[in-house]
């Protein structure tokens, strides 16, 4: 559980685009958000609400136009070793084997020796349940397995903050639930701090400590819902009334804004 110190803080973060005719489109407008260390925070909202943009700003691969975004008090000005992204479409290098893909982030960051890297890669492949597939190429894996590699690659760099961009959105329901379960297990084990983008209410409720509901056009924070469900999260949790209540709250807030928009 959160130990009380702030990991990520966004205040007044905005991002806009100028169209050809000179109009300004706000992708994000005055977003305030605080993520405590060890906390699992989900961003939910309709498509186009800027949740992925916010995640990319935090990752440092998209520049924001105003406001401040700090990680451990230091302003985010680009990619950094403290953060790792789990991508929506796995983004695995097709010419690298599973093991080499998991090692990629570590190799780029050059903070480890080859021996350390090998050891860490082996451990992570075990952690995500892909032992025996080390020498397979991504084309030989299922969608779920690719996302496991994607997750292992991010975890290998031992990030302070794990950024996940709808990683399970394209998977079938059964695989998705399985991976959600393993993700909460891994996060509990490693006390990860996670920002998780999704549009799936059930997923957000199951995984998170807090859920940030966002609105679209301009992308902004609508409200924050606390998820007072016990950890570790188990599959049976989904059928409890407490879970249904959280889900109901999220549903109401998302639909409230859908009505506001129309």
């Amino acid at each position: 559980m959160p130990s009380g110190d702030v990991c990520l803080r966004a205040s007044g973060v905005s991002k806009w685009y100028r169209s050809g005719s000179g109009d300004t489109t706000w992708a994000l407008r005055d977003v305030d958000l605080t993520v405590m260390r060890g906390e699992f925070v989900s961003l939910v909202g309709p498509s186009g609400c800027g949740k992925s943009t916010l995640l990319n700003c935090v990752a440092g691969i998209t520049a924001y136009d105003s406001g401040t975004l700090t990680l451990d008090g230091a302003a985010i000005r680009g990619p950094g070793v403290g953060r790792a992204v789990v991508f929506q479409d796995a983004a695995l290098l097709p010419w690298r084997t599973v093991a080499a893909n998991v090692a990629y982030g570590l190799a780029v960051q050059r903070r480890t020796t080859a021996a350390q890297r090998r050891q860490r890669v082996e451990a992570l492949i075990g952690l995500v349940g892909l032992t025996g597939f080390e020498r397979h190429y991504p084309a030989e894996l299922s969608g779920g397995m690719r996302q496991r590699v994607n997750l292992a690659r991010a975890l290998a760099t031992e990030p302070e903050l794990l950024l996940m961009d709808e990683p399970f959105g394209a998977l079938d329901a059964l695989t998705r639930e399985q991976l959600q379960l393993e993700l909460t297990r891994i996060c509990d084990e490693r006390r990860c701090t996670v920002v998780f983008v999704t549009h799936d209410i059930n997923e957000a409720a199951f995984l998170s400590d807090r859920v940030v509901v966002m609105t679209g056009r301009p992308g902004a924070v609508h409200s924050v819902v606390d998820v007072p469900l016990p950890r570790p999260r188990r599959p049976e949790l989904r059928r409890t009334s407490a879970f249904a209540e959280v889900e109901g709250q999220l549903w109401e807030r998302l639909h409230a804004q859908a009505i506001e928009v129309s």
Partner: protein, 271 residues
């Protein structure tokens, strides 16, 4: 699993029968043409003088490849020109192609010039090159470079330029700079395209070296052809052409082997 095996078996079965049909039909046609050729040349002395015959060409081929100097002088001369020229063409094409594919400003500055140069008919440059360089190894190599450079350049450029955007973003998210992104994402991703360029380049280079030798040389397979022409030895010309073809096929197959080794990761359906 089971259905997969059955499908594979069925495919193999069809493949085999298709292969048999090909051997019978294709091979049969080849034999028929050879017989026609033999028959035509046997009809008169004039015919055999102009068209030679399969048996004469075969005798000539055997005589050619059983001569020691064929390997140590003629084939060696051609191989030298081809090897030197092709490696220069490949090195230059890869370097410049990667640079142009990756750096937009460079591409915009050089593309018009390169495209215009690419339109110059290569053969028309040969007389100019003999004037400048004589007819030694340098001349041959330069002709080969001119023939083989552009396929490598254009395909490498295209491959690097179309680097997967999502993978580039992924690489950057881990803190990779442009050089790392180039070497770990853009270049490996361009391999299928690069190999297409290499194969095309190799074919053009073989044509280039033979052409250069036919025009001006003192040794080589092309020289053998030119020399046989002076002596009106159709059989020797044909024999040498067969040798050139075999060399070309062998080189191409070797390259294919290297390619399949290097691109094992590439999804099979896109090969």
């Amino acid at each position: 699993m089971t259905s997969g095996t059955v499908a594979t078996r069925r495919r193999r079965h069809t493949f085999q029968s298709v292969r048999w049909r090909r051997i019978v039909l294709g091979g049969g046609l080849a034999v028929l043409l050879l017989l026609l050729w033999q028959w035509y040349s046997s009809r008169s002395a004039h015919n055999i003088f102009i068209a030679s015959s399969p048996s004469r060409s075969w005798d000539s081929l055997v005589a050619l490849v059983t001569t020691g100097s064929f390997w140590s002088v003629q084939l060696a001369a051609t191989a030298q020109g081809l090897a030197l020229g092709w490696s220069c063409a490949v090195a230059a094409g890869l370097l410049l192609g990667a640079a142009l594919g990756y750096v937009r400003t460079l591409r915009e500055a050089l593309e018009p010039l390169l495209f215009s140069i690419n339109c110059v008919p290569r053969l028309a440059l040969i007389p100019l090159l003999t004037l400048w360089l004589g007819y030694g190894l340098t001349y041959k190599a330069v002709v080969v470079v001119i023939a083989g450079f552009f396929p490598v350049l254009l395909n490498t450029m295209d491959g690097v330029r179309r680097a997967d955007n999502e993978l580039m973003r992924m690489s950057r998210s881990f803190g990779a700079g442009p050089v790392w992104q180039l070497f770990t994402v853009a270049l490996p991703g361009s391999l299928p395209s690069v190999f297409a360029g290499l194969r095309q380049s190799l074919a053009h280079s073989v044509v280039g070296v033979i052409g250069a030798e036919i025009w001006a040389s003192s040794a080589g397979l092309g020289w053998l052809i030119a020399n046989a022409e002076l002596q009106v030895r159709t059989d020797r010309i044909i024999a040498t052409i067969i040798v050139v073809t075999v060399v070309g096929v062998l080189l191409n197959e070797t390259l294919r082997l290297v390619e399949s080794r290097c691109t094992r990761w590439y999804p099979r359906e896109r090969r």
